[in-house]
C-alpha cells in the first residue's frame, strides 16, 4: 500500500480535530445550532457570568467537559496502543495486554459490589470510588505482570505477553465471581461501566485527564526513536545505544498510568488502542515519531465522533460510548485490511 506523507496526515488530523470537536458541541438531546453555539460561546466570553442560560449550561458544563474528556481519553488510548505495539513488536498488542484493563475492571467491580450505595451518591467530587478502584486495580495488575516477566536478565517481552494473558484470565474470573454475587442494580452498573461511558464527564475529571495526558505527551517523543530501534529486536536496539531496560520500564509505567486513569474516568473503551495505531501505521508507516502523535489525534477524533453518535442514535436515551467505538472502527479497519490484501 502506498504511504501518505506523515506531515499531511498530521495536518489533516489537526484541522479535523477542532472541527469535529466544535460540531460535537451542537449534537445531543437538546439540539443547538452552530450559530447558537457560537453566539453562546461569544456571550459567555464577553458578558461575564450573569447571563448563564440553559444553553450555556448545556454547552459548557455538560458538553464541553465531555468532549474534552473524549479527546483526551481517545488520544491516550490510541497513543499508548501505538507504544505497546512497538514495545512488543506485535501489531496486535494493545494496552489491555499488560493487564491494565483486566485489573481495572476487577477494581471497579469490587468497588461497585462492596460500596454499592456510596457509589451512586458520587463521593469525592465526582471522582468516584469506582474510578479509584479501577485505577488501583489496573496499576496493580500491570506491576504484577511486569514483575512476573522481569528476572536478572531483564524483562522478557514474550513472558510479559503470556503473563498478561494469564492475569487477564484471572481478572475475568474474578469479575464473573463478583458479578455472580452482585444484585441486579450492581450488575447493571458493572456492565454499563464495562461498556465505557463518557456521560459522567465533569471539569474535575477533565483536569486530571489533562494532567496525565500532558505528562505522557511530553515523555513519549523522547522515546520514539528508541521504539523504532526496538522494532529490530532488543539486542539490536542495545547495540544502537538504547538503554532497553530503562526505556521499557518507563513506557510500561506511563502506559499503565495513562490507561489506568482513562479507564478509571471513562470505563472500558475498547478498540481505540488496538485499531487506531494499526490504521495510522498502514497510512504513514511505523516511524514512531509520527505514529504516536498521529494515533493520538486520530484516537481523539474517533472517540469524539463515537461519543457524539452515542448521544443521538437512540434519542432521548444515550448509548454507552464503548459500543460505538467498535461499531465505527471495525468496518473501517476491515476495509483497510481488504485494501491491503488486494495490493500485496
Amino acid at each position: 500500500m502506498r504511504r501518505m506523507p506523515s506531515a499531511w496526515l498530521i495536518a489533516i488530523l489537526a484541522i479535523l480535530m477542532p472541527v469535529v470537536a466544535f460540531y460535537s458541541m451542537t449534537v445531543g438531546t437538546v439540539s443547538i445550532s452552530i450559530a447558537e453555539a457560537f453566539s453562546a460561546a461569544v456571550d459567555s466570553l464577553f458578558s461575564g457570568e450573569d447571563t448563564v442560560g440553559q444553553t450555556q449550561v448545556i454547552l459548557f458544563d455538560i458538553r464541553l467537559p465531555r468532549i474534552l474528556l473524549a479527546l483526551l481519553v481517545g488520544a491516550i488510548l490510541a497513543s499508548t496502543g501505538a507504544v505497546m505495539q512497538g514495545l512488543f513488536r506485535n501489531p496486535l498488542a494493545d494496552p489491555s495486554l499488560i493487564g491494565v484493563s483486566g485489573g481495572a475492571s476487577v477494581g471497579a467491580s469490587l468497588m461497585i459490589v462492596l460500596a454499592g450505595g456510596a457509589v451512586e451518591s458520587g463521593l469525592l467530587m465526582g471522582l468516584s470510588l469506582v474510578a479509584l478502584g479501577a485505577f488501583v486495580g489496573g496499576f496493580a495488575a500491570t506491576i504484577l505482570v511486569y514483575r512476573l516477566a522481569t528476572s536478572g536478565m531483564g524483562t522478557s517481552v514474550t513472558t510479559m505477553l503470556l503473563a498478561g494473558i494469564a492475569i487477564g484470565a484471572l481478572a475475568g474470573a474474578l469479575n464473573s465471581l463478583l458479578s455472580y454475587f452482585a444484585d441486579n442494580d450492581m450488575l447493571r452498573q458493572i456492565s454499563l461501566w464495562q461498556m465505557g461511558n463518557l456521560s459522567a464527564a465533569n471539569w474535575a475529571k477533565v483536569s486530571i485527564m489533562a494532567l496525565v495526558s500532558l505528562l505522557l505527551f511530553i515523555s513519549f517523543p523522547r522515546d520514539s526513536r528508541a521504539l523504532n530501534a526496538l522494532l529490530l529486536g532488543e539486542s539490536e536496539a542495545r547495540h544502537l545505544g538504547i538503554d532497553v531496560q530503562r526505556v521499557k520500564r518507563r513506557l510500561i509505567v506511563l502506559t499503565a498510568l495513562g490507561v489506568g486513569v482513562s479507564v478509571a474516568l471513562a470505563g472500558m473503551v475498547g478498540f481505540v488502542g488496538l485499531v487506531i495505531p494499526h490504521v495510522i501505521r498502514l497510512l504513514i508507516g511505523p516511524d514512531h515519531r509520527w505514529l504516536i502523535p498521529g494515533s493520538a489525534m486520530a484516537g481523539a477524533i474517533l472517540l469524539v465522533v463515537a461519543d457524539s453518535l452515542a448521544r443521538v442514535v437512540v434519542l432521548p436515551a444515550e448509548l454507552p460510548t464503548g459500543i460505538l467505538t467498535a461499531l465505527l472502527g471495525a468496518p473501517f479497519f476491515i476495509v483497510l485490511l481488504l485494501q491491503q490484501r488486494r495490493e500485496v
Binding site: P91, G233, E236, R238, I242, P286
Partner: protein, 257 residues
C-alpha cells in the same frame, strides 16, 4: 588491541559453550571466525558484543572494560549485524538504514547522505522506498548490512571502531558475497576492525587477515590463513579430508574438498 576477550569461559544452562578463549580483534584488520556448527562462534560474538556476560574472564574494548562504556558511546564504536533479523514492521530500506544513525548526532542532512551512500554501497539503492517486509532474504540482509555500515560510517573520536558480522554472506548470491567481502576490506583499510563468522573457508582465507578456528568451545588454531589452514587441521576440526592448494590469482590458500 581494540577489542580483546581474555581467558573467556562461558557456562550456560549446564553447558560449557566457551572454554578459556583468548581472542583479539584489531582495528584495521579483518578477523574471521570459522568452525563447525555449535563450536561456539556465535557465543563468542555475543560475549564480544556484551550481549552475554562471560562466566569467567574479561572483555576489554578501547582500553576499558566493555561494560564500563556508556551504551550510547559504545554504539558509536561497535556495530553488530545479527544473523537473523526480527523486524516485521513495514519500514522502508531508507528508514531501516536510518536506524544505524541513532547513536550519532550528525544532523538529518548528513545522515541522509550517509544513508544513501550506504545503500548504494551494498547495491540496495533500488530498494530505498520499498518495504522491508516485502523484500527477499538477501535484500533484507543487504539493507541490514547497510544499517551497520551507516553506524560506523564516520570515525569516532572516543576510540577505534569495530564491526561485528554474524554470517554476513549466508543469504547472498555469489555476486553479493564478493561485494560484501570487498566492502569489509575497504572498511578495514579505513581503520575499522572487522570480526565476522564465516562458513566458507575459501571466502575467509581470501578476505581475512586473521583466522580463528573454533572447535568444541575451544580455539583450535589462530593466525594468518596460510598458517592456520592445513590439511591436518581441517581433518581434525571438520572431519573432512581436504587438499590445500593456492589460489592462482590471489595466492591465498584454497581448500579443495
Amino acid at each position: 588491541m581494540t577489542l580483546r576477550a581474555e581467558n573467556i569461559s562461558l557456562h550456560l544452562s549446564g553447558f560449557d559453550l566457551l572454554r578459556d578463549v583468548t581472542v583479539q580483534v584489531e582495528a584495521g584488520k579483518v578477523t574471521a571466525i570459522v568452525g563447525p556448527n555449535g563450536a561456539g562462534k556465535s557465543s563468542l560474538l555475543r560475549v564480544l558484543t556484551g550481549e552475554l556476560a562471560p562466566t569467567k574472564g574479561l572483555v576489554s574494548f578501547n582500553q576499558r572494560d566493555l561494560n564500563d562504556w556508556p551504551v550510547e558511546q559504545r554504539a558509536q564504536m561497535l556495530a553488530v549485524l545479527p544473523q537473523h533479523s526480527l523486524l516485521n514492521f513495514p519500514f522502508t530500506a531508507h528508514e531501516v538504514v536510518a536506524l544505524g544513525r541513532i547513536p550519532h548526532q550528525t544532523g538529518t542532512l548528513k545522515d541522509a547522505d550517509i544513508i544513501d551512500q550506504a545503500l548504494k554501497l551494498v547495491d540496495a539503492e533500488y530498494l530505498q522506498k520499498r518495504f522491508y517486509t516485502q523484500m527477499s532474504g538477501g535484500e533484507k540482509q543487504r539493507v541490514q548490512l547497510a544499517r551497520v555500515l551507516a553506524q560506523v560510517w564516520l570515525p569516532c573520536e572516543e576510540g577505534e571502531q569495530i564491526l561485528v558480522l554474524d554470517e554476513p554472506t549466508a543469504a547472498f548470491d555469489l555476486a553479493h558475497q564478493q561485494l560484501t567481502l570487498e566492502i569489509v576490506r575497504q572498511l578495514a583499510e579505513k581503520g575499522v576492525g572487522v570480526v565476522m563468522v564465516l562458513h566458507d573457508l575459501n571466502l575467509a582465507a581470501r578476505c581475512a587477515d586473521k583466522l580463528v578456528v573454533f572447535d568444541g568451545g575451544l580455539v583450535a588454531a589462530q593466525g594468518t590463513p596460510e598458517e592456520v589452514l592445513t590439511e591436518q587441521l581441517i581433518d581434525q576440526v571438520f572431519g573432512v579430508k581436504a587438499m590445500i592448494s593456492r589460489h592462482p590469482v590471489t595466492n591465498k590458500p584454497l581448500v579443495i574438498t
